[in-house]
């Protein structure tokens, strides 16, 4: 009791002269925070507003003119998504490509990482530690190290000392999606195995032992016991991989080519920024279409994303 009253007394004594100063600093602090928040949202807001303005207005006046002369239209979206002339965005085709690329590129590494992580965390076999360290170390390798040889693996197959060991895949048309899935899956595995392994390794050993004593096979343990428990880790890795694949430009440029047949939206947007750099009505609406889906996923699963960030999942 005495300590408490003492504390209160001391606090009062200290705050009297400081209260004013503290309130001042908190004013300044709030102002700085607001400035940062405004700086961070204005560019996106400007893009969204512009994408809804008529074409001639976007090109002749700034988006802030909207507040004095409000005119909105959905025509840019109509044009960029469904326009059929080659100068329009044809974004609908690329949007579908993005979806076709993303779904298997998330599912496959998710499943393969889970299997591998289970083996590395819970199966007793010799060399386990070394394999884990090896997989872990692969996180170092930048994508750039793999691109050229992997592309030649797809197109020309494997040749050892002039001897054709494996033929090229010779994928045409929409079959080329397969090589994009393949590349994304390979590149995702080191991080996936690492993240899911960390989570799995912390499951209680007694639980596993009990299941095994009861005669459960590894398949059963994995399906019935482990999977429900590692759900959050799978969600974390899933959302990371989704954002990575959806937003990726480099892998898509190299393995999906640049046509409406297989290329995702990022590739199309980069093309439009290069060749139609001043067609702002298409660029703004196109960019916003590509941004909306990841934003929605992100907002609904932010919890898992943050957890993943804090667990150290950053990919290269």
């Amino acid at each position: 009791m005495t300590t408490l009253t003492e504390t209160v007394a001391r606090t009062r004594a200290v705050t009297a002269p400081q209260r004013v100063r503290r309130r001042l600093t908190s004013r300044v602090a709030s102002a700085v925070a607001i400035v940062i928040a405004v700086l961070w949202t204005t560019p996106t807001f400007g893009l969204l507003l512009s994408s809804l303005r008529p074409e001639d207005q976007i090109k002749s006046t700034g988006w802030w003119t909207f507040f004095s002369d409000p005119q909105l239209t959905l025509e840019n979206y109509q044009e960029v998504l469904f326009g059929t002339s080659s100068s329009s965005g044809q974004m609908m085709s690329f949007l579908i490509n993005s979806i076709v690329i993303t779904i298997p590129s998330v599912l496959l590494p998710l499943a393969l990482s889970t299997f591998a992580a289970y083996a590395l965390a819970w199966l007793p076999f010799r060399g386990r530690e070394w394999i884990y360290i090896g997989v872990f170390a692969l996180q170092i390798v930048p994508l750039q190290m793999a691109l050229v040889p992997l592309l030649s693996f797809f197109s020309q197959g494997v040749e050892v000392f002039g001897l054709q060991v494996l033929p090229g895949w010779e994928l045409e048309g929409s079959a080329r999606f397969v090589q994009v899935w393949f590349a994304h899956t390979c590149f995702a595995l080191p991080l996936g195995i690492f993240l899911i392994h960390n989570f799995m390794a912390e499951l209680p050993g007694d639980l596993m032992e009990a299941a095994r004593v009861d005669g459960a096979t590894h398949g059963t343990i994995l399906r019935k016991l482990v999977l429900p428990l590692v759900g959050p880790a799978l969600a974390t890795f899933g959302i990371f991989q989704f954002l990575w694949v959806w937003n990726d430009l480099l892998v898509a440029l190299i393995f999906a080519g640049g046509t409406a047949e297989t290329a995702p939206m990022t590739v199309r947007l980069a093309q439009m920024a290069g060749t139609k750099g001043n067609e702002w009505q298409r660029l703004t609406s196109g960019a916003f279409v590509s941004v909306v889906i990841p934003l929605a996923v992100f907002l609904s699963m932010q919890r898992y994303f943050v957890r993943g960030l804090l667990a150290g999942s950053v990919k290269g």
């Binding site: 750039q144 190290m145 899956t185 590894h218 959806w246």
Partner: protein, 323 residues
């Protein structure tokens, strides 16, 4: 305006095939694991579960990395050995040196700016009423692709001659303060800084989230004690907050350095590497996939690997200490 949905059908069929293949792979692996005999040494199970992932890692990363290293000592068409020529090109030719200089500017500035902005913001909004909303606002750009962010910012930097209305926000601000509109992205060396702004804009949210979590982890007693001793907010920050979250700050610095070294999309979308803005990853793409100079591209990739490796090793050690 008739969009032909029928033409999109082969893609959807392909997607169905892909998902079906996924289901088959999962089913086969689970089935094999169930069938394999249960022994104490779990070799057969381990092989079934690990083999697909390890095979893909071998095909997709290990072998290509080795081949890229070999290619970096070969000529553009990959036929003749040229020794260290590609590396000599990288460290002597002016256009390659510009690339290295730009990469250095990026990797020095981005981690520093991202950490500073993230830290200031995290401290300022900590324990305020609007904290969740404020953090979300800064965090949102993380969901946007670098390409999308590139377009957003090209629009901010857009240029119109000074007898016309400006449509870019930055030039509008300059003009309204009586200045001349500028072609921000075309004038080296400042244009690299304008590209760096975009990266900082995207990544600051990452720093905010990580550092904010660390700040919340500081024991309440320490803060209380400092407050009772009459520490001012500035003193609090430098004497209490910063030392307590040192390891989180290092994590942010390190991850940002790695991400920045590999940066490609922003430069490609906004300037295409023109006007002296190219960086290693962009130049690697150009050399290997546009000019057919596989050797030079490979050398750049290897150099990137060499730059990233010590940082990653440091990061791993650091993380082990944090645990």
């Amino acid at each position: 305006m008739d969009f032909d949905f029928a033409a999109e059908q082969p893609k959807l069929v392909q997607l169905l095939i892909g998902v079906a293949a996924f289901l088959v792979v999962v089913a086969v692996i689970l089935l094999l694991v169930d069938r394999a005999p249960m022994r104490r040494r779990a070799w057969s199970h381990a092989t079934i579960l690990l083999l697909p992932a390890l095979a893909l890692l071998g095909i997709g990363l290990v072998v290509p990395a080795v081949r890229t290293t070999l290619l970096s000592f070969m000529s553009g068409d990959g036929r003749d050995w040229v020794g260290l020529d590609n590396y000599a090109w990288m460290f002597t030719q002016p256009e390659a040196l510009t690339v290295l200089r730009n990469t250095l500017i990026w990797v020095l500035l981005v981690p520093l700016l991202v950490t500073t902005v993230g830290l200031v913001y995290a401290v300022l909004v900590d324990r305020t009423r609007f904290e969740p909303v404020a953090k979300s606002l800064v965090f949102l750009p993380m969901a946007i692709s670098f390409v999308g962010a590139g377009i957003i910012w090209r629009f901010v930097y857009a240029y119109r001659a000074d007898d016309q209305d400006q449509i870019g926000l930055l030039n509008q601000l300059v003009v309204s303060m009586g200045g001349q509109p500028q072609q921000w992205l075309q004038e080296p060396p400042l244009n690299t800084l304008f590209l760096i702004v975009v990266m900082v804009w995207i990544q600051a949210g990452f720093a905010t989230v990580v550092l904010s979590a660390a700040i919340k982890g500081i024991p309440a007693e320490i803060i209380e004690a400092a407050r009772l001793d009459g520490a001012s907010p500035v003193q609090m920050f430098f004497r209490v907050t910063l030392p307590s979250i040192r390891s989180a700050v290092i994590v942010v610095l390190v991850t940002q350095s790695i991400g920045t070294l590999k940066l490609f999309d922003i430069v490609r979308t906004m300037t295409g590497g023109q006007f002296d803005t190219s960086v290693i990853a962009n130049e690697m793409y150009n050399q290997a996939f546009r000019y057919g100079e596989t050797g030079k591209g490979a050398a750049l990739a290897v150099f990137l690997f060499v730059l990233v490796t010590p940082i990653v090793i440091y990061q791993i050690r650091q993380r082990r200490e944090v645990r």
